[in-house]
């Protein structure tokens, strides 16, 4: 039962059809079997048995030696030898037929009263009859001893024939009785078969009905279960759809809020786009300024380089001047030496003049004059020496200053290059900014566009929500209807 309920509806229906098919097949099989047993009494059987009966009536019975007995009697009355020979031939033929038939039935018949009667009780006297006739009587006739032949016929052969005939009679009686018995059995078999058929039909009908009842009951139980489930589902659906309806209402409200928010976002993003554009312009201006700055720096760099070159040449010139001052120094030293020697000479001359007394007075004056000239020269050379020394100092300072300046210029050039590179980086970055600002602007614009689209979508969503609410109301009505139908189905 539980296994039956587990089957699907299709399975159950298939099972039902299967049960019916098996039933019908069984009935057909039983009918066939019955027919195969009973057809012995059919119209064809009757026709065949009738013709056999006719043949049995017409053809001389081979197992009954009545004709042999008649021919034996005739042989006693035979006129000539030819007639006798024909009779004897016929008798021999009849005996052969008899023995052939006997062998046939010996193989055919089953053990029983009929076999005993036919093959033993009737056969033994017949064989003795044939033996006595062929071995003693016919030779006696042929020998012309008719009296002996007659005596044999009456005393031996006739009783044997009589015994055989009685046996045959009893065989006929037995056969007749067995045939009637067989007929009765056949009739009984037919009757039984009919009973069996009726019983089988009833049984199959019962089984089919039971199967049908079981399957129907299981189907109905399933249907009932399904209807219960359907009913509860309908209730649930109704409840959930009501809930949904309320939610849709809430959703509608929240979509309105979202729409408002999206509008705000749209406005903000538009402002942002404006700001981004301003920023972009600013960045572009900054890039331009940076470019100009770099140009200025490059010019400055070039000037610095020129300056560096000039300081180099100035240094060279200063070095030349230093060399020249050294030359001047040499000359001045020479003049100083000459002046010194002159002074020395004049001093010594004055000393000698003093030693000479009155005679040296004139010479003393000359010596004084010479010394005066020498002193002037010495003073001049001292001045020149001072000047040259100052110049040398100035030149040295100048050279040092120049070197320092050159170093500073080099450092400046380096610094300018670095600053230029940094400016280049700044320009690159600012240009990058420019591109990024474009992307940002584009993004903002698309965002604004998207916000507008979202706004549109929100509006349509709100419409859709209202439509959904309407359809949910319809759905509620439909579920109510469904519940009614299910209730009807259950009753």
């Amino acid at each position: 039962m539980s296994r039956l309920s587990q089957l699907t509806v299709m399975g159950k229906l298939t099972l039902l059809v299967g049960v019916f098919l098996i039933g019908f097949t069984a009935i057909g099989a039983i009918t066939f079997a019955a027919l195969s047993r009973v057809r012995i009494n059919g119209p064809m059987y009757r026709e065949i048995t009738r013709s056999k009966e006719v043949l049995a009536d017409v053809v001389s019975p081979s197992l009954y030696i009545v004709e042999s007995d008649r021919l034996m009697q005739e042989s006693l009355e035979a006129g000539d030898l030819v007639e006798l020979r024909a009779i004897m031939d016929r008798s021999t033929k009849l005996r052969e037929e008899y023995e052939a038939r006997h062998r046939h039935w010996e193989a055919e018949l089953t053990d029983g009263e009929l076999r005993t009667q036919l093959l033993e009780t009737s056969f033994a006297p017949a064989e003795r009859f044939f033996k006595l006739r062929d071995e003693q009587m016919f030779p006696a006739i042929l020998a012309g001893d008719l009296s002996r032949a007659r005596e044999l016929a009456t005393s031996s052969l006739e009783p044997l024939y009589e015994e055989h005939r009685k046996a045959i009679d009893s065989v006929v009686a037995t056969a007749t009785s067995s045939a009637s018995e067989l007929e009765g059995r056949a009739n009984q078999a037919v009757t039984w078969t009919l009973y069996e058929l009726v019983a089988a039909s009833l049984l199959i009908a019962l089984i089919s009905a039971a199967a049908a009842w079981l399957i129907a009951r299981s189907l109905v139980s399933r249907l009932q279960h399904a209807s219960v489930v359907l009913s509860s589902t309908a209730t649930q659906m109704s409840a959930s759809s009501r809930e949904q309806q309320s939610r849709v209402g809430e959703q509608s409200a929240s979509t309105s809020e979202i729409a408002a928010t999206v509008k705000e976002i749209s406005a903000t993003s538009r402002d942002l786009v404006k700001t981004a554009e301003e920023l972009s312009l600013g960045a572009a201006r900054a890039a331009g300024l940076a470019l100009e700055g770099r140009g200025g720096l490059e010019r400055m760099d070039a000037r610095m380089r020129a300056l560096s070159t000039s300081t180099g040449s100035i240094s060279v010139k200063l070095s030349a001047i230093r060399e020249k001052t050294n030359d001047i120094n040499v000359v001045v030293t020479t003049i100083t030496k000459v002046a010194d020697q002159t002074n020395l000479l004049s001093v010594n001359a004055a000393i000698e003049a003093e030693k000479a007394g009155e005679y040296g007075l004139g010479f003393l004056v000359v010596a004084r004059e010479i010394r005066r000239l020498a002193d002037q020269a010495a003073v001049a050379t001292l001045d020149i020496e001072d000047m040259v020394r100052q110049m040398q100092g100035a030149v040295s300072t100048g050279v040092m200053e120049m070197d320092k300046f050159d170093d500073e210029v080099r450092t400046s050039v380096k610094a300018v290059q670095e600053v230029s590179e940094q400016l280049g980086g700044v320009i690159e970055e600012v240009e990058g900014f420019h591109g990024r600002f474009d992307a940002l602007k584009e993004g903002m614009r698309s965002q604004s566009l998207g916000a507008e689209q979202i706004n549109d979508a929100m509006v349509s969503l709100a419409d859709g929500a209202q439509q959904t609410a309407a359809s949910l109301r319809e759905f509620n009505a439909a579920t109510d209807g469904l519940r009614d139908v299910v209730a009807n189905l259950r009753t």
Binding site: D340, L344, V347, N348, A350, I351, E354, R371
Partner: protein, 141 residues
């Protein structure tokens, strides 16, 4: 002759102005290369060949100031004869000769004093140096 002031050779030692009588001076020479002497007495700093004889040189700056005479063109050697010896005196700026009148005796001068007299030349004092005393001081350790 008596009325005439004697001719003096002027020189300096540091900031001080000094003078010697020209009659005591053999000659004035440019500073020569000096031969170094081992363990010379007093302020003798070396010797140089003068008239086929090695003449000792007294650095007067070193003698009186403690510092050697600056290496200048005007630093010269004044060759003098004192007590039968010829000696070179290394002094500064021995470049002028002048007749100096109005010599007065140096105050507090003793018999062995180096400065024997002073001439006031309009505020500028010229000290008259006694050659013999100077040389004697120069050789004294």
């Amino acid at each position: 002759m008596e009325s005439r002031a004697p001719l003096m050779l002027l020189f300096r030692i540091g900031e001080g102005r000094y003078a010697v009588r020209c009659t005591r001076v053999e000659c004035v020479l440019s500073r020569p290369r000096l031969h170094q002497l081992l363990g010379p007495p007093g302020a003798v700093v070396g010797s140089f060949p003068y008239r086929d004889a090695l003449t000792p040189v007294i650095d007067v700056c070193k003698l009186f100031l403690g510092a050697p005479c600056p290496d200048r063109i005007s630093s010269r050697i004044v060759v003098v004869r004192a007590s039968e010896r010829v000696v070179g005196l290394l002094v500064e700026r021995a470049t002028d000769t002048r007749a100096l009148p109005g010599e007065t005796l140096a105050p507090g001068a003793r018999s062995d004093a180096i400065v024997t007299g002073i001439v006031d030349e309009g505020g500028e004092l010229q000290q008259i140096v006694d050659v013999d005393a100077l040389v004697a001081r120069g050789f004294a350790s």
